[in-house]
Symmetry: C7
Amino acid sequence: MDITTWKDWFISLYTLQDVQLALTATIRIITTLILAKLLIYFGTKIIERLFISKPGKFIADNRPQTLSGLLKSVLRYVVYFVAGMSIIEIFVPNAAKTILAGAGILGLAVGFGAQNLVRDVITGFFILFEDQYQVGEYVTLAGVTGIVEEIGLRVTKIREFGGQLHIIPNGTISHVANYNRGAMLAQVEVGISYEENVDKATAVLKTMCQEFAKIWAEDLVEGPDVLGVVRFGESEVVIRITCKTKAMRQWEIERQLRKLVKETFDREGIEIPHSRRVLLSNGGAEGA
Amino acid sequence: MDITTWKDWFISLYTLQDVQLALTATIRIITTLILAKLLIYFGTKIIERLFISKPGKFIADNRPQTLSGLLKSVLRYVVYFVAGMSIIEIFVPNAAKTILAGAGILGLAVGFGAQNLVRDVITGFFILFEDQYQVGEYVTLAGVTGIVEEIGLRVTKIREFGGQLHIIPNGTISHVANYNRGAMLAQVEVGISYEENVDKATAVLKTMCQEFAKIWAEDLVEGPDVLGVVRFGESEVVIRITCKTKAMRQWEIERQLRKLVKETFDREGIEIPHSRRVLLSNGGAEGA
Amino acid sequence: MDITTWKDWFISLYTLQDVQLALTATIRIITTLILAKLLIYFGTKIIERLFISKPGKFIADNRPQTLSGLLKSVLRYVVYFVAGMSIIEIFVPNAAKTILAGAGILGLAVGFGAQNLVRDVITGFFILFEDQYQVGEYVTLAGVTGIVEEIGLRVTKIREFGGQLHIIPNGTISHVANYNRGAMLAQVEVGISYEENVDKATAVLKTMCQEFAKIWAEDLVEGPDVLGVVRFGESEVVIRITCKTKAMRQWEIERQLRKLVKETFDREGIEIPHSRRVLLSNGGAEGA
Amino acid sequence: MDITTWKDWFISLYTLQDVQLALTATIRIITTLILAKLLIYFGTKIIERLFISKPGKFIADNRPQTLSGLLKSVLRYVVYFVAGMSIIEIFVPNAAKTILAGAGILGLAVGFGAQNLVRDVITGFFILFEDQYQVGEYVTLAGVTGIVEEIGLRVTKIREFGGQLHIIPNGTISHVANYNRGAMLAQVEVGISYEENVDKATAVLKTMCQEFAKIWAEDLVEGPDVLGVVRFGESEVVIRITCKTKAMRQWEIERQLRKLVKETFDREGIEIPHSRRVLLSNGGAEGA
Amino acid sequence: MDITTWKDWFISLYTLQDVQLALTATIRIITTLILAKLLIYFGTKIIERLFISKPGKFIADNRPQTLSGLLKSVLRYVVYFVAGMSIIEIFVPNAAKTILAGAGILGLAVGFGAQNLVRDVITGFFILFEDQYQVGEYVTLAGVTGIVEEIGLRVTKIREFGGQLHIIPNGTISHVANYNRGAMLAQVEVGISYEENVDKATAVLKTMCQEFAKIWAEDLVEGPDVLGVVRFGESEVVIRITCKTKAMRQWEIERQLRKLVKETFDREGIEIPHSRRVLLSNGGAEGA
Amino acid sequence: MDITTWKDWFISLYTLQDVQLALTATIRIITTLILAKLLIYFGTKIIERLFISKPGKFIADNRPQTLSGLLKSVLRYVVYFVAGMSIIEIFVPNAAKTILAGAGILGLAVGFGAQNLVRDVITGFFILFEDQYQVGEYVTLAGVTGIVEEIGLRVTKIREFGGQLHIIPNGTISHVANYNRGAMLAQVEVGISYEENVDKATAVLKTMCQEFAKIWAEDLVEGPDVLGVVRFGESEVVIRITCKTKAMRQWEIERQLRKLVKETFDREGIEIPHSRRVLLSNGGAEGA
Amino acid sequence: MDITTWKDWFISLYTLQDVQLALTATIRIITTLILAKLLIYFGTKIIERLFISKPGKFIADNRPQTLSGLLKSVLRYVVYFVAGMSIIEIFVPNAAKTILAGAGILGLAVGFGAQNLVRDVITGFFILFEDQYQVGEYVTLAGVTGIVEEIGLRVTKIREFGGQLHIIPNGTISHVANYNRGAMLAQVEVGISYEENVDKATAVLKTMCQEFAKIWAEDLVEGPDVLGVVRFGESEVVIRITCKTKAMRQWEIERQLRKLVKETFDREGIEIPHSRRVLLSNGGAEGA
């Protein structure tokens, strides 16, 4: 500033230049706003076409709405942010710097604090995009097992068997186990005593399995089979029966199988052994 | 500075320019303050309209007050901070730099230290906004189970069953289990001996369940059912009874069910078996 | 530097300019120091008014002193630091840069190392500000349970039941359980044998509870109640009695309840069962 | 800006220069776009040649398609991004700065949030490139054991034995155990009583192993061998039998071996002992 | 550089200017060194006065030496570092930049690597400053319990009961339990059989405690008391005796109490019960 | 740009200068490429001499090839990268900046994502350089124990005893246990009953050890010794025998030792005791 | 560049100036190299004097060589790096920037990857400097217990009791337990039955300890003492004997003590009790 007299200084406060600058600023602001509106309008169009013009191609159900809605929001907020910053920049040339000076101190704290939020949304996006699970499916995720009630971009809600509603941030979901994508395995283990004949017990169980397969044909995918001796227990030889069932029917099938095994063994006189112990008497030793 | 004589130097300390500069600074400061006040005034208006003009729309109870209060505070502190920095900048052009020089050393430490604070507030915001739980609900979060006593932006207070008041920073809450959002499951397991007939025991329990459903109709959502054989125990066949109850009534129902099962079995002469063991004597072996 | 002859160079070492510069520097230093002093003086005034002018409003006991002391220290160190840096800048224009050059290498290490310190102080501030616990209260924090002996900005000292003094950095305290904020629960579980009548035992215990409530009325908040059958044990049916007591009296009440239960059962002839086992002899099998 | 009169200012808004600048910009944009297209075209060619011109050399099956597809995508997005940034730069010279001002605040959060995504893709690339496992193989990874159903760049899908479909982000896979790369070990442990002769039992088992090797020759890689005494148990001397089998046949072989051991011991009269206990009577002591 | 002929170039290598510059540099170096020496001299004086002029005020024992020594070292290294960097800057104007170019690559690695070192020293400073423990005290820290042998700024040495010397970096010490700051609790639990009378046993133990208090008066702070029934055990009613002892005497007192309890019960004929079990014979069932 | 007329502007698009600039660029590019080639050529020579000119000095087997190959790759990629960046810089002076603008946003994510990769390679380099393990050795690393099948810069492949092939990223290997670097310890523990004479049993075992040492002289490094009483078990006094064997022979030696101990004790009539229990009858108490 | 004609441009490629610049560069390079050599030479001298001129003062054994060797390497690499960067800077003024452009992308990854390496060396330096352990000592570190075989700057090698060689990066060593720095504690616990007289048993053990102290005087530091009753076991009163031994002799002393205790109790007729159980018969209850 080359002003050195009182008068010049006073005039310098509000001169013609300032008015011109104000007008320039106004025009720039209007241009910026129009540009922003146009960007949002066309960006929205492109996003909508992207998701609607390919029906049934790679995204099923209501996920397109969720995803395109997400992308539109992101677009809108980014455009608003850049436009806002540009307008501030017009008035206060170093506003960005000043804000960043503060942000340099706080930015790290905010950044670390907000990273969970960002991770939630990114993971949520992939859960929807890759169709990892849908509402109504029975899943295990983040250590919780239950029916999915709601899938959002930030949280997934799951109702556990006991009735509790779990609200789980998507970012804490690292791996998903889905129980509704194919046949499930029902499996029953039963012990027979070491005195029993393994071949006889196996034969009895095999006959039983064939009957069972007929009765529950509707729920079974692959009829129950006797796998054989899977373990030498302390007091029993353990035999395993497995079958494949339709999803979510495995527990009922296991309960029915267990009941039938009990009835069959009762009928055939095969014992499910209690814990056994051999006692050795040592005469009247010790202190005697 | 091109001053090379003593006189020039002395004059150079306080010249007309300095006075002019002082005046310029004063005007700038006043303008800054007025701008800041206006920003806060209109920002507050906008925030209030945002939350009040949509009554009952997407936010219930007293959460609007909490949230709009939060946003107003954030607005006020950001504006104050930027205004303060701008005023300092007027006097000491490189103040920001100098402060940042220190912040560069300390900023990392402060940033890491403060990130917990930021995470607490962000998580607290989402707990309120998404209505994850309310005061009076029975929840499990951060490993603590109890009644919510207070929900703040930084901490949630929970009273455990034993009477302890837990003060939990919101940032340590990753997933919430809420026991008040729908029917809860009451579940009783009872063992019968291997000698008992499973069908008879099941029939007895089914009759019992029907009686029970009439007596406790008010608390039950879905009458108790006998699921079937869920496990082969060491000395008993385990049968499970489940029912759905109104929230928070599940424990009373379970206790009443257990008592009724005991009475029914006593009446019907069905034994709840003790641990059994088969002893095998080995003659007078070992050392004999 | 445009000096090209020996004489010019020699003179250039200490000229009039240098003296002038020295004087300028002196004046600047004095101004800086006065400004710093003023800032500290008025800042201190403001902090003091903030905490003292609102007696009994939102901060109880001696916490105002601790907090205002903290804020004053922070103010003082920040002002000193900025003033010091400004003065150094006057002499060595690029001092900040040089220091930062070193800080760039070391800053990260120091930052990470010091973050624990910062987190301790921030958490300590909130413990005091939110009145999470006070000296003399019985709390659980960072896995340690005991009586609070001292609350500082960096550490909390807790005396465990066994007499050990635990010194716990505040930053490692994530969630606090306070046993002095309301009534506590005393709880006694007692098993009766399967042969016993549940209704009779419950009735006996209920009578006992009424007597107990009269004797210990002073310590009790809510008279002891018999909850009912809470578990089928291996050899016993478990019944639970609970009551609410004044804080810190729960253990004594539990011990007195236990003693009374024992005496009552002895008097009424109700057995607290030992572990039971059914022995099945298998004839002279195995190796015989 | 040296404009000081109203007229000059008005004209300065849209002058010849502006038109010229607009034309320059247009030409630059077109050039940028052509360059981008060329880069993508030739880059794609090079990537394709890289993977196709060396058939059967170091990459088997359909992995070349996956990998070259990946590289093409990366190329395309990088080129688009740089071109886009350059075009924006032409219009708004400091756009990058403004965007970065926002990014400075948000970048950290996004960076941390997105790092999982990047790690998933990098790990996925190496799984494919190093052929760590293929669809249909039986593997253990990230704590899940099952058949690989699908290998993607971001997730691997594994079907567990029980039927659940696990969706595992590749980034959470740190070490892989593959059960299909060579012969597997089947192993059976059987206990004989301390009274039994070890040499005799070993001899019987060795004969049995030779028979077994003949029957199951097709599934065995290395005939079953009796290793010897591997442990002194509480009531038994434990002997181990091992053999190498074709991949995925180990469980069947183990079950068959177990059944044969039981039958052989029954035939030869070697006892698999129950738990033994020596009882010492202490006369009529204690309280007597 | 405007030199365009061979001669000029040759002369330009070593001109008068260079000599002058060399002299300037020499003078600057000497000034820097003198300044550094003065800074260290006066800084040392200040540090010494800080710690010595307040004898017995807030720092006991030899910690003042350790702390003032530490501060002097830090001062010395910081001054040397800044002086060294300034001198290098005189010769090679961009040395700092070049070094930072390398540091930019390596700095992160070094920073992360060295952070443990910094954290050790910071924690060590607070251990000394806050007098968390002293040489000879019995403490638990970082999972190790023993006698403190040496407290340094980087490591603490602790000798465990078994004789091992543990060398523990201070940075891994998060919370300290000190057993020498007040009375310790000695505690003995003894079980009596369910057949025994609780009141009688309590009375006997109370008499015993009074005798004990007389014998061990010197080591006891608060005479042993019978707390009452603290648990219903499987075969015994558990009674607890506690007393407060001088620090480090608790183990001896517990051993003496235990011996006295045994002798008292032997004398009074109160039984410390063995594990009890009720046997129920089921006739000649199972397989019979 | 000082162009103000249409003609000037048009001409300015492609002038003589541009052609000259193009030529300059071409020459610079060629120079850059030649320089890069030379750097790679001589760098490769130096690396090769470094590893080949010192045969058998400090690196055994085929590791020189692996390491020099690694260094050559690193050299090549670094030179290519710098050359590429320089060439781009010639055309688009601010390309680096623009790329960095994008990198600023993505760099963090990529950096974190890729750090595992870098850590794998650095750890792999040290495994090879320090010869921590070789193909065919039996090692424990990252929780997996087995034979090393392949050592790469990124992953190590280990075949477990059970046949599974483990693919372990080197970065997850923090500490290595190698079973092939010296003699291994075989160790057998055997219990004798409390009634037995310890001296007699020790003498018998010592004689046995001498015989054993003769038979297995080839596999033993240090003959088996009887260490003595290492534990008072519940029903037995435990004696330990140890010996040093050649690597990988320890399991066979342990099995043979166990067999011999059993045979020796059978011959000498020393009992390996079963679990013992003293029964105390309490008359007809409880409920009687 | 102000060249506008073809001729000027062509000449401008290689002019006199270029040759002069080349010569200047050559001279600068030579100067840089000489300076680097001198720095290394004198630095080495200083390091050597630092460690050799103070023999036996504060560093024992061969650690001076290791440490001075380390410092010399660090000096050499730092000087080479700075010199190399300076020379490159002479030719390509912005080389550092270009390299940093790449480093900005890769630096983070490399930095994180290499931090383990840096931490290893820093920890290794302190292990050597503080003499935490020496070759041949018996230590526990990073969860491994054994004899130290080799201490390097990056890794420590430990041979476990079983013979395995553990290679442990120093950075994973957080706390060291050293068994060779003073007397070790040998400790034997023995149970006597509740029927036994505690005083008699203690007296017998005390006499035994005195004998033992004479026989093993050479290995003992503090004669074995009978501590007293340390625990009420299920079936026994547990008495503890402790003594201090020379380092590494504790295990032998424990074994000898145990053997002597067994022999003494056998001689004196004091019983080491088996597990006891009181049986209560319930008549012919249950199902009868």
